[in-house]
Symmetry: C2
Subunit: 325 residues, 2 copies
């Protein structure tokens, strides 16, 4: 990637303004990232050295579990403790329709007057393994901008639950009674994804049973350094919220104690970097051919005049040749 320093003047000014707490600059740089404007990455480069101070907390769970309400109450609790909070709400975008479910995000819009809170909703289109590249950059920006906590809320419909692990320091999995307990609990790997479990709407019948099932599943797991706690919450009334904040903080302390925080963060940076590289190479390979040439190759493939492994070799060689030229 070319550094568009000249074009992005004042790129370092953008970075400096974000670092200085300028919310309008923050919004602007996030838009750069969303629009694939290289000024976004230019600012991230400048700001990277300032990252690593926020506690990044992922919140995931099935639709209807009350994640947005819970996030709202977490913000309130953290603000009460004098902490600043950035929020990235990631909307699942269907790979088919491209439509984003914005749903009940309005619930979190009551914070516009508080400069200690910054909330941004994003789709997952142009996904970097589900979580948008722009969303990942936004988390880094919020971190660099000095927020004490960055909450990442995502609807847990499979892959996004796995992706969030790569981004968050602490993952809160939200379960809820009456939503098909089998699926919630038996879902492959769900107990391995969560660092903290919240059984929300705990005033509904069945909450204790969901909690018990989770505890049993967790007892089966291998949790040497940290055994995820299960916290009963009622987002509507605020019940259990201080306990949830406590559990999240305890997990962070355990990560630091076990020397896992740096490892976990490095692993996610490596993965994101390698995915960006792969995307770039894919783009370059396809751009080594004219539209007409590509169409002919795909047509040969479809007609089985050409097998995909030979074509793979050819695409690779031609692209490599272009590099050498």
């Amino acid at each position: 990637m070319i550094e568009h320093k000249d074009y992005c003047v004042p790129a370092d000014t953008w970075a400096a303004r974000v670092a200085g707490g300028d919310r309008r600059a923050l919004a602007r740089v996030i838009s750069f990232l969303e629009n694939d404007d290289p000024c976004g990455v230019a600012a991230l480069k400048e700001l990277y050295a300032r990252t690593g101070r926020a506690h990044i907390v992922g919140i995931t769970g099935p639709p209807g579990a009350g994640k947005s309400s819970l996030a709202d109450k977490l913000i309130r609790e953290l603000r009460g403790r004098g902490k600043t909070v950035g929020v990235v709400a990631v909307d699942p975008t269907s790979p088919f329709s491209g439509g984003a479910i914005l749903g009940d995000r309005v619930r979190m819009q009551g914070w516009t007057g508080d400069s200690g809170v910054y909330i941004r909703s994003m789709g997952t289109r142009g996904s970097l393994g589900g979580l948008a590249r722009a969303a990942y950059g936004t988390i880094q920006l919020l971190d660099a901008a000095g927020f004490d906590y960055v909450l990442v809320e995502t609807v847990g419909v499979g892959q996004s639950e796995v992706d969030i692990v790569r981004v968050a320091d602490t993952v809160v999995v939200v379960a809820v009674p009456g939503l098909g307990d089998d699926i919630q609990v038996s879902k492959a790997g769900i107990t391995e994804i969560g660092d903290v479990f919240a059984v929300n709407k705990a005033d509904l019948p069945g909450a204790e049973r969901v909690a018990t099932e989770l505890e049993m599943m967790l007892d089966l797991g291998n949790h040497a350094a940290w055994r995820p706690p299960v916290v009963l919450t009622v987002a509507a009334s605020g019940k259990g919220i201080p306990e949830l904040v406590q559990a999240v903080g305890d997990h962070f302390a355990a990560l630091v104690r076990a020397d896992q925080l740096v490892k976990r963060r490095l692993a996610r940076e490596k993965e994101a970097l390698l995915l960006r590289l792969a995307e770039r190479v894919r783009r370059e390979i396809l751009q080594s051919w004219s539209q007409e040439e590509l169409a002919r190759l795909w047509s040969d493939l479809a007609a089985r005049r050409l097998d995909p492994y030979t074509l793979e070799e050819r695409l690779y060689s031609v692209w490599k040749g272009a590099k050498e030229a």
Copy 2:
């Protein structure tokens, strides 16, 4: 990739034996694929021209929906109609534990004496977007080996449901009463993934309601060329199985009529090819550095002496330089 023709002698013999219906050769080539032995790809190259004749049917749905029983009954029905059937049962492998859930696959083991049926279970480790590269190659092998149908069974826990769309001509989504209807139905995009819906265990209470909810969801969708039917089945008794086979066949005919079959298959070949290329480049990039050098780079990244975007550029340039040398 180098063509290991000499090493793989008799590579074309392997291909010829698979094409000729030799089941032991088939099993052997699948093992090559699983072990990343280049003889596997060598055989696939030879056999590619023979693919495209099987109807590839994906079967997905939540754990406990009875997919294996349903697949078993589908095999029986298709065999009764004189068709041959290959089955690839893909086990979800947790990205964390690496453990495969083999579960109730035994249910499908009653076909060992029938040469018109071939069943292979595989994990998703070394995933190519969830579905293993080896599983994808195996589907192609079964196609080239002359099976009329290739059933691909996978547990639907998110991403795999999406991946299966890329592989199958027809996707059967299995729902079931009493497993948390909200989640089954509201799951992002599930009604967009299925070409045919089976409400299994239709003798249980609530089956009609699940079917009605699905019909309502489908009515909302945009289904110009094909409106997915909802079929009530009871795998245990065989109820609804002929209707399910009929619906699957109708969908195939509709694909052909709408000129979509070739397009859909080409799209999946392109995607698989580009993913293989990306994996290869990633491997090559990492291999351009010694272990010590890489460790130092990652350590600089972790300590924030180096930002990930500058590192990305450096990895790319060094690798590109190595290509040119």
